[in-house]
């Protein structure tokens, strides 16, 4: 168990190093843009992993959370001239409040309520963003959202911004690992494993779920804010249910509940549409077939492939045989 986990950390490190090296070989704005989006997706999925991956509660509202994060930071920095550093913190706080506010009513009950309320919430956010044209710019969008600087380095190019969010992603990854390996992570996994047993152990299942959901909302809102400042432009057209589903797909394809899986999923699913672009009209259907195939043949995600190939996960049980 221990070595398997250490190997995963090594792989995570290797992936981050690899991502950091990519701009050196492909200094092309198109690729760098994709890289930025990839790492932002990674941060959002690290969050989604808490509630949907570890705790097993389907959250279909990531787009709404992401949008709230994006608009909070964009509007505050643009309209009030606040430093994006402050407004990004405000976004994370908005995520926190959102997690609590939305989690409390929808997680009080067992079952699919979270999926439904988050889905509805996400749509409400999108409709508001579309129609409050005076504030959000509607489908025309908000333009010239400011970039910012880290110390004396202005993040004026996409490459610089990429390195900034890569560092952020590494920090978020470490945070995820710490929480996952803690007693809270254990509680999350326990809820997914056997809901009925939790309460009889003196643990309040609602609080556990709300905590996981709040973490997801904080990560998601942060991701949204990073996206807004990266893109410099946001429109309500981007925050559709498709986006929410896309994050669930990333989670599934990479491997539910596994942080290395989240990284792999973000990389593969963000790249896939670009790699399939040459197919032209057939791109969408090929993409869907690949996702479907992954769900059918690799229900535990690409990460399970790694386990099978390396034999790391089953080494113990093979060596010791059945009980």
């Amino acid at each position: 168990m221990k070595t398997a986990r250490r190997n995963q950390y090594l792989w995570m490190g290797a992936l981050f190093v690899f991502l950091a090296l990519v701009p050196l070989f492909a200094d092309n704005n198109y690729y760098i843009t994709i890289l930025n989006q990839m790492v932002i997706n990674m941060i959002v999925v690290f969050g989604l992993n808490f509630i949907t991956g570890l705790t097993g509660q389907m959250n279909l509202g990531t787009a709404g959370i992401y949008a709230i994060g994006a608009y909070t930071s964009a509007l505050l920095s643009k309209n009030f001239g606040l430093s994006p550093w402050l407004t990004m913190i405000a976004s994370v706080c908005a995520g926190f409040l959102l997690g609590r506010g939305l989690g409390y009513p929808s997680l009080k009950m067992k079952g699919v309520y979270l999926s439904l309320t988050t889905l509805a919430f996400s749509e409400i956010v999108r409709i508001f963003a579309t129609n409050l044209i005076d504030i959000t710019g509607g489908t025309q969008g908000l333009k010239s959202i400011p970039r910012f600087s880290v110390g004396w380095i202005a993040l004026d190019t996409n490459t610089k911004y990429f390195y900034f969010i890569l560092v952020v992603a590494i920090a978020m990854c470490l945070l995820s690992i710490r929480i996952t390996d803690s007693k809270w992570g254990r509680e999350f996994r326990a809820v997914k494993d056997n809901q009925d047993a939790i309460e009889s152990l003196g643990l309040d299942i609602r609080r556990i779920k709300i905590r996981a959901f709040t973490l997801a909302a904080m990560y998601g809102a942060f991701g949204g804010a990073l996206y807004a400042h990266f893109n410099g432009y946001i429109t309500s057209l981007s925050f559709t249910t498709d986006l929410s589903i896309n994050y669930v797909i990333i989670l599934m394809v990479g491997g539910i509940g596994n942080i290395l899986g989240n990284m792999i999923g973000s990389i593969v699913v963000t790249l896939l549409p670009e790699l399939l672009r040459f197919l032209g009209d057939y791109y969408q259907i090929t993409y869907c077939i690949l996702v479907l195939a992954s769900a059918l043949f690799l229900p535990d995600g690409l990460i399970s492939l790694y386990g099978k190939v390396m034999g790391v996960f089953n080494k113990r049980s093979v060596a010791e045989g059945g009980e």
């Binding site: 168990m1 945070l175 710490r178 929480i179 803690s182 007693k183 809270w184 254990r186 509680e187 996994r189 326990a190 494993d193 056997n194 009925d196 047993a197 939790i198 309460e199 009889s200 152990l201 003196g202 643990l203 309040d204 299942i205 905590r211 049980s317 059945g322 009980e323």
Partner: protein
């Protein structure tokens, strides 16, 4: 109201499922320092009673007193925190996790560290985690499961899983444990071991309330017995009294059991 002799008391407990009365004005007391058994035929309302005590499926009428205080209306986790532990008829473990992890979760309601403090203060968090692990190790030693500590629960035999569940309950330091059919599905040697462990746990000062079909287990372990039939209490007393109670024999034990007991060694009861 507070009677130090009694750990748990149910007062006029009624459970209705629509028109069906599953438990009808049930009264009994679980005495401190005793093992209390609840027996009766299938469908008599035994598990329903346990679920009313734990709060998983609260009563329609009546009251449940734990250590003299009414716990009606309290959520399941609050009752567990007060010291009511339980095991399930069909094991409810975290099957994808190791035995140690299962036990650690069982002890987590006693931990105090908050998430923010954990993220800020690496050392005290580690200390708490280590403490929890040590405690799990102690409990595993106590129930004779130490060698299985790193096994994934799903890979364990049924008897070992039952033992893991008991260990997980013990981690919460309960004052009273409700055992829902502890011997069901166990082979004779596992059953014997389980009885010994229950006895051992009891001797550390934990009161026990058990539902059981296996009369050998009941007669071996319990001091007090309550017999249910169709949701009503039909008898109450010590094992000797129950064995000769005509109503219990006709409703539950059957004539065959009386003959078996008469033939068998007297020491059994």
């Amino acid at each position: 109201m507070d009677n130090p002799e009694v750990v748990l008391e149910v007062l006029d407990l009624v459970k209705r499922f629509d028109g069906l009365v599953a438990v009808d004005h049930l009264n009994f007391k679980v005495r401190r320092g005793k093992i209390h058994a609840l027996i009766g035929p299938n469908g008599a309302g035994k598990t329903t009673t346990v679920n009313m005590i734990t709060g998983e499926n609260p009563q329609t009428e009546g009251d449940v007193l734990f250590e003299g205080k009414s716990i009606s209306g309290r959520p399941v986790y609050a009752r567990a925190q007060m010291g009511i532990g339980r095991t399930f008829q069909n094991i409810k473990l975290f099957s994808a996790m190791t035995v140690t992890e299962n036990l650690m979760i069982g002890g987590q309601s006693k931990t105090t560290q908050s998430l923010l403090k954990y993220l800020a203060d690496f050392r005290s968090a580690r200390k708490e985690e280590r403490h929890l692990r040590e405690k799990a190790k102690e409990v595993l030693n106590f129930i004779g499961m130490y060698q299985y500590r790193d096994e994934i629960v799903n890979n364990l035999a049924y008897g070992r899983q039952k033992m893991t569940e008991l260990g997980r309950t013990l981690m919460g330091e309960p004052k009273l444990i409700l055992l829902d059919e502890p011997a069901a599905g166990l082979n004779p040697s596992e059953r014997k071991e389980f009885i010994e462990i229950i006895q051992k746990v009891f001797e550390t000062g934990v009161d026990m309330f058990l539902i059981e079909h296996n009369m050998d287990v009941v007669m071996n372990l319990s001091h007090d017995i309550t017999v249910l039939n169709f949701g009503c209490k039909i008898a109450e007393g010590n094992p000797k009294e129950i064995l000769v109670n005509e109503e219990v024999i006709s409703a539950y034990l059957g004539e065959g059991y009386r003959r078996k007991m008469a033939k068998g060694a007297e020491g059994n009861a």
